[in-house]
């Protein structure tokens, strides 16, 4: 049986973070200089290197700040390279630097992880893909949220003016089930090798389950998907994208019929 040296001291540390408003509402892991060192040891990057900057908020996320927030989120040090790649992906996107995280639209960053890093750190890519229960998924996504709150000052009701937001604002990190897909993985489609690991970042508003057990006809299934996407509202237009996350069974319906990803699009 394990024992807790001083439960009162642990509670006091958690309450300290809550009082500082350095949380998303859930308890965070206390981070000291020595624990931070374990994260920084996982990268060759300098602690003061800037990963992502929002000039109009007068704030920048450095490697050091990304590490502190990742540790607070509950990441293990070996997850940190994925968090760093996630920040690189976020920085490539047009909307986060243009203030979308402050917007009434209430979006969240969604991360998609590919490659051998998935089994290496225990990222779930099978059932319950958007669900709870997997430390790597839960804490890597949360690392981005805590950084948005702490580094960029994007607190709800203040600089984050989301009218409703989305549950994905706590954490949204999924991994592709490359092994059961009829197609090449997302990162390979974009020019990387299967042996590379990669993170793709998107801005997402909400997640909708598409119920379609009635057919194995690819045309019908494609219509079901398209009808659902069309229903999501007036802001779906030619420059808005919808991410379709297929379960292996549905993917196989298209795969067996010889449809490529682009044919489906």
């Amino acid at each position: 049986m394990s024992t807790v040296a001083d439960a009162g001291e642990i509670r006091a540390a958690l309450e300290y973070y809550a009082r500082q408003d350095w949380t998303d509402g859930l308890p965070v892991v206390p981070v000291t200089e020595s624990y931070l060192g374990e994260f920084l040891a996982r990268t060759r990057r300098k602690p003061d290197e800037v990963l992502f900057e929002v000039p109009h908020l007068n704030r920048r996320c450095t490697v050091r700040l990304a590490a502190i927030n990742a540790a607070m989120a509950g990441c293990l040090p070996e997850y940190f390279p994925v968090v760093l790649a996630a920040w690189e992906a976020v920085a490539e996107e047009p909307y986060p630097k243009k203030g979308i995280w402050q917007s009434t639209t209430g979006t969240a960053p969604l991360l998609i992880v590919n490659g051998p890093v998935r089994p290496a750190i225990g990222l779930n890519n099978e059932g319950n893909v958007f669900g709870s229960g997997f430390r790597a998924n839960a804490t890597i996504g949360r690392a981005i949220r805590l950084t948005a709150i702490n580094v960029f000052g994007l607190r709800p009701h203040l600089l984050d003016q989301a009218t409703q937001g989305t549950l994905g604002k706590y954490s949204a990190c999924i991994a592709e089930n490359e092994e059961e897909s009829p197609w090449e993985p997302l990162h390979v489609e974009h020019g990387l090798r299967p042996s590379d690991s990669a993170v793709t970042a998107l801005v997402f508003r909400s997640c909708m389950h598409i119920e379609a057990r009635h057919t194995r006809v690819p045309e019908q299934l494609a219509l079901d998907l398209a009808n659902t996407i069309r229903r999501t509202g007036a802001l779906i237009h030619e420059t808005t994208s919808a991410l379709v996350v297929l379960g292996p069974e549905h993917a196989q319906v298209f795969g067996d019929a010889g449809w490529s990803k682009s044919a489906r699009q």
């Binding site: 000291t32 007068n58 920048r60 600089l159």
Partner: protein, 178 residues
């Protein structure tokens, strides 16, 4: 607390905290007002109505309209410089969304730092984000004005009412007791 020190996870404010307002004019007579349109619907009409009031009642001599590139972020540096060169005071509108409310307040701060008295106008649904921006910009206490939400869906007469209603706040921020 005992034990090792817990690290601060927040982003440091690296800009010099210049929180000095630009000098206020003694009178508005003969001055040029810059109108910075943030591209939100009805911003231009609201600003024109305010300029009309300033001209008609306070003898402001002219009004120059500027339109920034994107509502969610502050105006480009060159535009801030140009406005500061060409205008004696500025009114900017309208911060009626999450990102643009904060950006409209940021524009006001940038223009004050460039030496021009500026009134940023948000809609009153977004007072909180407007107030949060001066904190991250290192300009706590920066004052701005609010019109009643909404703005985008109003007609011309309603916009005139909004302009008249906000005028006392515009004058107060420019340094005049009303």
């Amino acid at each position: 607390m005992t034990g090792p020190e817990k690290l601060d996870p927040t982003g440091a404010d690296e800009r010099s905290a210049d929180s000095t307002l630009a000098p206020r004019p003694a009178s508005l007579r003969g001055l040029t007002v810059g109108l910075l349109d943030n591209t939100k619907p009805n911003a231009e009409v609201l600003l024109s109505e305010i300029a009309g009031e300033l001209r008609g009642r306070y003898d402001v001599s002219g009004a120059l309209m500027y339109r920034k590139g994107y509502f969610g972020t502050p105006a480009e540096e060159d535009m801030i410089k140009q406005i500061a060169q060409e205008c004696d005071l500025v009114v900017t509108a309208v911060g009626d969304c999450g990102s643009c409310s904060a950006a409209t307040v940021a524009d006001g701060i940038l223009l004050e730092r460039a030496g021009v008295p500026t009134v940023s106008i948000v809609s009153d649904s977004f007072l909180a984000s407007g107030r949060a921006m001066p904190e991250v910009q290192g300009f706590p206490g920066f004052g701005f004005a609010a019109v009643r939400h909404p703005v985008a869906s109003l007609d011309a007469a309603q916009l005139r009412d909004r302009a008249r209603a906000v005028l006392p706040d515009v004058l107060r921020i420019l340094g005049f007791l009303t």
